[in-house]
Each structure stands twice: as C-alpha cells, then as structure tokens.
Symmetry: C2
Subunit: 512 residues, 2 copies
C-alpha cells in the first residue's frame, strides 16, 4: 500500500459538513448519550424480567453494573460541567433548552456530590440486602435481614448528607424521586389523608364482598384482552408492545418504543385488567412526551408522583367505573365465551371494587391502599431520622398496621418484610404512590370540569377525548415544570386529599 494510495484516502473523501462545536452542541450530544445509556439499561432490565433465561442472571447483573458505571462516568464528565456552566448565562436559549439545562445540571450535581466509593458501597450493600431480604422473607426470619438493612439505612443517610438537599437527610432521598418535595410538607398532607381515610375504610368495608365464580381464564386470551384494552384507550401499538412478567412494569428504551407488562393468573382476569390499566397510564404518558425534547431530560416526567398520577388515573378513576366495565364486557365475552357465561358488567364492576383491610400493599384495594403508604412513610422517615432502630421495625410495622387498618400481620414476611423497596435502598420512594393518587383524583376533577361527567364520557367510548385532556395538560410538558407547578396549572388546585376523598366517598359510600 503505497503513500500515493494512502494520501488519496486522506484527501479525496468528502468530509462530513462541519458542525459548530459550541457548548450547546456538546451538551446536546452529552444529554443524548446519557439518555441512550439509561434507555439501554432499561431494555436490559425489561428483557431480564420477560425473556432472559435463569442462567443469565449473573452476567446481566454485571452488564448492568458496567452500564451504571459508564452512565456515572458520562454524567460527571468535566467538559459537560464546563459547558453547562458557560451556558447558564446564555440569554439566547429558548425555554425548552433552559429546562433541559436546569434538569441536566441537577442530575449532574447530585452525581458529583456522592463520592464514587460511596456509590459502589451503596450498590453492593443493596445487592447483599436484597438477597438477605429474599432469604429472610422466605424463612420469615427478620433477624437475618436486620443487619444488612441497618447498613443500607446508614449508607443512605451518608448519601443524603453528601447530597445535602432540603432540611433533613430524608429530603435528599425523597428529592431523587419527587424533586422539590420535602418531608415537612408531606407530613401534614399525609396526616390529613389518614384522618379522613380511617372512617371511610370502616364504612366501605361493610359492603358485601363480590367474587367472580371460579373459571378458567386462558392466558392467551388475557394477553389478547390486554391488547384490546390498550387500543381502546389509545395506546399506539406501532410504537409499543405488551409482554408478561411476574410484576407488572412500564419502560421505554427510547422514543418510539414504550413497553409495559402485565401479570397473568388463570384463576381470574381482574388482576391483569387492573395491571393493564395501571401500566397503560404510565405507557400513554411516555408516548406523549414532547418529541422536540427527545434525548434530553425534558423528555420525561418531572417526578415519580407525576408518573403515578397517570397510572392511578387510568387504573382507578377510569378502570373502576361501571361504564368502563360496560365498554369492556363485549370484548371479554368475545375472548372468553365460556368463562364469561353468567357474568355481566355489573358483577365485574362490583368484583373490581371490594374494600377490605389486608396485609399486602400490592394487593390492597383503592381505599385502604393509601393507609399502607401512610405507614411506610411514617416508618421510613423515623428510620432515616434515627428515631427508629431497624431491630424495632417489625414491631413498629405491626403496631402501625393494627392502628391504621385494624389488622395485625401474622408474620413479618406479611408485615415489615413484604416490600423490596427498603432492602434496595429506595427510601423516599413510597410517598410518590400516594402523591400519584392525590394528583390523579385532582386531574379527574379537572377533566370533569372540561369534558363533563367522566362516567358519561367513558360510556360513550370517548377515550380519545380523555387522553387528549391528559396530553394537553400533562404529557406534552414533559419535565419542563416541577410537578407541583405542572399539577397546579393542570388542575387549578394545590396538592391535598380533598379530591381523592371526594372520589372515594362518591364511589364507595352508599348514600343514606
């Protein structure tokens, strides 16, 4: 290969048109890479829960660890930090660009404040604790879980102190999931909610319990029904898919590909239908993010509470109405001609809304659910504040269940050890479920003001109109505004339990 040939290669190939190498371009590329890495990890997780063979667990964990390390390395890149700083004073940028910069700076700052050694320690402690939790739960032996959990609590406090957001360590943890939220503001909201839920639970539990007759509900049919429901409410199947997993979830590796899963039980179709409605809320939200903000932090929900407002809206405000079951009944009869014999929409509706205090949060009904969260919020706040020792957790949990729901878990496996969250270091996560419920009820009230009676809209199959309302008020804004501003603008109301309590009373308390 002579020099002449080599030089022809160097000169004769047309160059790609030169792009400006401004700070904005660097930041845009950087945000894109960060988004691509997050989405990639999401797809690896989706595959793990839906397809991966069992022997792949260790390799997948390592691969996800590598991606997390690369994600961290990318986020803290010095040139990105310098470009962000330079752009902070740039008056030429539009609102979207400024929002993206604000969110990216926030994410980078959080990452910069936690030393890499601590990140690794937390990750390893959580892995160990999740394993210990799984074993301890199976053996109903809280003692074997207490040590690893205490270490996680200690490390998460250290993380919170390193981040230094808010007025107390818990705030820094909460802020990761619900930016801007503070414990001191949530405490009175949750206290108010608790006070008003307690009599409501007592009253609603008195209604007779409706159970579907025992039939065989084929899993293929349940998946087909999931697709029918998705298309009915407006999910774009050309830009998404539905799969099956043990625990339902929603994820999106990138724009144009939004996936959710449902759980299937051949004994009853109700669990899958409510899972589908819940995940559809998340998935519709993801399909509605602003296209112009793709591969920036604006292409996201502003918080988990905002995300959960969408899942709870479709699951509870839409999916538990009589009108919804009337719309769904013909499809169910088509898919399950035998199992549906003697079952009508009214029976399905009643069976979908039985209220009974029970031990397990994820199986709780719409009314008791938030009391489970009140308890968890109370306990995790005390743990992080140092007011509660891990060894005293089971007692505090059982006492709380007794106090809030009038039942005492027969075992710690059905009590303090039922959720994976704390083992995995997710302190500050639980409250976002109830925030979602509160916002969902407020959004439903706002939707009724705009569209008229929701039950009527559902009865007429005007799902596109309901979705249009959410697209306009919530989805299209992505993460541009903090959640409380977004929700105030969308609903005209401040965060509070009024709308949720009114909804529950209307739905579950028979007048007179």
């Amino acid at each position: 290969m002579g020099a002449a040939e080599a030089s022809r290669c160097g000169t004769s190939i047309p160059r790609v048109p030169g792009r400006t190498s401004s700070e904005w371009e660097l930041v845009t590329d950087w945000m894109g890479v960060v988004a691509d890495l997050s989405g990639t990890a999401g797809l690896l997780g989706f595959d793990r829960e839906t397809l991966m063979p069992p022997a792949g667990a260790e390799g997948r964990a390592r691969q996800l660890g590598t991606l997390a390390a690369l994600h961290h390395r990318e986020i803290v890149r010095e040139d990105a930090g310098e470009a962000l700083a330079a752009l902070a004073a740039d008056g030429e940028l539009d609102d979207d660009a400024r929002a993206a910069l604000r969110l990216a700076t926030r994410e980078r700052d959080r990452a910069m404040r936690v030393p890499e050694a601590l990140v690794r320690e937390i990750s390893e402690a959580c892995s160990r604790c999740v394993s210990a939790w799984a074993d301890a739960r199976a053996a109903d032996d809280f003692g074997a879980y207490a040590g690893p959990l205490a270490q996680v609590v200690a490390l998460k406090r250290c993380e919170a102190e390193a981040i230094g957001i808010g007025d107390e360590p818990y705030d820094a943890l909460l802020d990761a999931y619900e930016p801007g939220a503070r414990a001191a503001e949530l405490v009175p909201v949750f206290a108010d909610l608790r006070a008003r839920l307690t009599p409501l639970v007592a009253e609603a539990s008195r209604a007779p319990e409706t159970i579907l007759p025992v039939r065989e509900w084929a899993e293929d049919g349940q998946m087909a029904l999931a697709r029918e429901i998705a298309e009915m409410v407006g999910f774009d199947m050309s830009a998404g898919l539905i799969a099956r997993s043990a625990h339902p979830f929603t994820g999106s590796p990138h724009r144009g590909d939004v996936r959710f899963t449902t759980r299937l039980s051949p004994q009853s179709p109700l669990g899958s239908i409510s899972a589908v409605m819940h995940e559809l809320g998340h998935a519709l939200y993801e399909q509605g993010f602003p296209a112009s903000a793709n591969r920036t932090p604006v292409y996201d929900a502003p918080s988990l509470g905002a995300h959960e407002s969408q899942s709870r809206f479709w699951e509870n405000q839409i999916g538990r109405t009589a009108a919804f079951w009337e719309r769904l009944e013909p499809a169910m009869r088509r898919v399950f001609p035998t199992a549906m014999s003697g079952i009508d929409a009214a029976l399905l509706h009643r069976a979908s809304r039985v209220v009974r205090p029970s031990e397990i949060r994820v199986e709780a009904d719409e009314v008791t659910y938030n009391l489970h969260i009140v308890l968890r919020f109370q306990i995790e706040l005390a743990l992080v504040r140092g007011d509660l020792d891990v060894v005293d957790l089971p007692g505090a949990f059982s006492d709380g269940m007794q106090e809030l729901l009038g039942i005492r878990p027969p075992t710690d496996a059905l009590g303090a050890m039922q959720d994976i969250h704390w083992a995995d270091g997710l302190f500050g996560y639980f409250p976002t479920y109830t925030l979602g419920n509160l916002y969902a009820a407020q959004l439903a009230e706002a939707a009724e003001r705009e569209l008229g009676d929701l039950e009527h809209a559902i009865a007429e199959g005007r799902f596109a109109q309901i979705l249009g309302f959410m697209r306009e008020r919530v989805h299209r804004h992505g993460a541009r505004m903090p959640t409380r501003d977004l929700m105030r603008a969308a609903t005209g109301a401040e965060l509070g339990p009024d709308a949720l309590i009114a909804h529950l009373e209307r739905s579950y308390i028979t007048p007179g």
Copy 2:
C-alpha cells in the same frame, strides 16, 4: 447536616477490601467492559429483530450508534494501551492470560489504526448504501445503488490501507472476520473446490425433486418443534432461548444467555428445521466457550469460519442424514398429527436434500451453496483490488452465475443485489461461509474416526457424544488458538476441500 455526621460517614463505613491495582487488573476490567458493551449491543440488535415495534427504528439506531462510539472510546483507552504494553513482557502470566492479551491487543491495534473520522464516514456511507440497496432492489434498479456502493468500496479500501494487515488491501478486510487468513491462500483452495463442485452439481441435480405435499404447519407447532430439537441435541434451555425473526441468527448478550431465532413459514416446516439446526450449531458453540475466560476476548470463536464450522456441521453433517429424520419423525408426528399424515422420515429426508442450481444464495442447497460463495469471493476481491468497477458488477455477477451454475438471474434484484453484505461494507465476510463448510466436513471425518459412523451415532440418539466431541476439540478452546491451528489440532488435516467433496459425493451421488 453537621460536619460531625458527614465525618462519621467518611470513617465508619467499612471499606471494600482493597484490590491490587496492577496492570493486569486494569486490563481485566477493561476487557470486561468491552465485552459488556458488545453484548449489550447484541441484545439491542436481538430485540430489534424479534420484538421492537416499528416506530422504534430510529431511536434504536441512535442508541446502537452511541454504544458503538462508547465501545470504540473504551477500546482505544490510553491507560489500557499502556497496561497491555507493560504486560507484554510479563512472564508470570498463564496461557489463557497471554491469549487474552494477544487478542485484546489485536483488537485495540485495529481500532487505533482507523481514524475516528473514517470510522464515522464508513458507518454513514454504509447506512446510506443499505437504504439505497433496499430501494434499488425493490425497484430492480442497479443504477440507483451503484453510486453509494462505489463510495463504500472506496472507503473500505481506505480502511484496509489504514489497517495495513496482509499483502493487499483485501487481506485487512478478510482478517477482521477470519484472523490470519489471506486472499493469496484462499484463491487456490476456492479454485480447487470450484473445479470439483461443478461436475458434482451436474450429477446431483439429476435426482428427481421431492417436495412435501402442501399442508398447514402451525407456527406454534414449529416453535415447539424447535425447542424439542434443541433439547434433543443438547442445547441448555436454562441458559438460552429461541425466538422468531425474519432472518435467523444467533447472539449472546453474556454468558448464561445464548439466543437464536428461526424463521417460520406455514407452508413447510423444512426451512425452520434447517435454520434451527444451523443456529443451534452456533448456539451450542457459544454455550461451550471456556467459563474461565468469561468477559475476555478468549470467550469467543477465533473467527467467523470457526463459528460457521459449527453451524454447518449440525445443519448439514447431522441435519441432512436419514438417521436424523428418523429420530425427528416421532416428534413431528406428535406436534403435527394432521399435517404429517402420509409423510414418513424417508420422504422428509429426500425433501431436505434436493439439489438444484438456483438464483438465491440463502435458499441454495448444500451442494450448490459454495459455488455462490466462490462467485462472491471472486467478485469482491476484484472490486477491492480495483480490477472490477462497480458499474460492471451486475454483468460480472450474471456471467459468473452462468458460468458456475448454468443459470442467468432474470433481474439484478435476483442477481448482484440479492445480498445486503456489500451495501453494509462487509467485504471479506462471504468466504467465511465456505471456510465453515470445509471445516465442518473435516470435523465430521474426525468425529467419525473417534465415534465411529456418525449416521449410526445419530440413529442411536448419541447426540451428547457428538456434542462432547465438539466441546472437547473446538468449544472449550474459545479463541485461544488461531482457527487454522485449532482445526489442525481438532481434525489432523490442513484446510482443503477433500472432506467436503467426499461428504457430498457420499450423500448425493448414487453409486453406479
């Protein structure tokens, strides 16, 4: 959050036990990250071909582009280069470590030699050319493809010159897929093969054509059959899975997770069965890589030719025997009780081995197949050498088909434009298919010497023994040795067409 608390965080948390930070550790971590990134890209590709909704195409392409860039950035890391150089003189390392270093250095050197701008230009030119190819093929308009293809050829020549391996530019391209192989060595092997195949094709084509009667072969049944075949030959389903795609392929995101796909046609089960046997060869190989070399370049095949030796072995040396169809017949009758009526193992066997010259390489039978490759090798060598202009490609291709197979493609879509490889810049790739066929036949001869008559072993269902032979002679070595050394050690023979020709004569030429 006071300083006292922060300092408690800094001191009271037990540190992870200190690891040595030797060069070897750095290189091990670095090889692991490179492997994780390759595996991740592989999973994204698998998902794209099997699950991804259509609207995800653009986002996925971008995500894969980001991963490719991170992969490149990781490979060329300077500290890795320094550590590799320092370790080259380390006498303490064992054979596996030395092999890993040699392969990693090779990969890094290749990556270092090609300027990043050229990498990007090639990637963009290939993307454009693949699009142009798809459109041009659909319209049977070679003219619309010629320009983009000429650019790809020019850029690949530049890449070859930058890499500078071998005696001519083509060698550097070939070396990417078949390390150590050189055009000058392949030319006589392919010429010999061609000379001996031509009369064989003429003879074998004279046998009457057996076609299965037209029936309905349910796709679910074909997938169930694929799983039965996989388990029959020894594929570990707890460490792998089977999916469906338009074009069958095998991939593994990481150890413990090896996936392959099959194509399904409701008209006939034969296409899927041969695809399953082919991909199973690749997949069994991946499941047999040496565990101790996980996340290093030794945990791989030494070349595409070696990989293809495994797929061709199971597809042709095993999957086209009378004994194989006798073993499979009961399962087929169980899965397809109706469609199988009146069809026996002998008919299936005859239908699986019809020899007829035809236009399309991927549909070619075992005997004519290698003549398709002979033609492609000849043409791509001429293109890269500059002996053939892209504008003259269709004519050269059709003339070659006429000469080698006695048929003239009625259109360029069925001729020079049938494969995606050249559009995608894959020059030097085609010969590895035939190398795989040559090695597969040599391995079958070696297996017979060790296990006795293969047909007999298959008839007795001794698949574990056959797989054990491959594990011992080929799989467990990973990429430790170059392919020719590996195959010489496994078969006792030098690369050549004798074994393949003998196998084809035995299988397709009726004595007398």
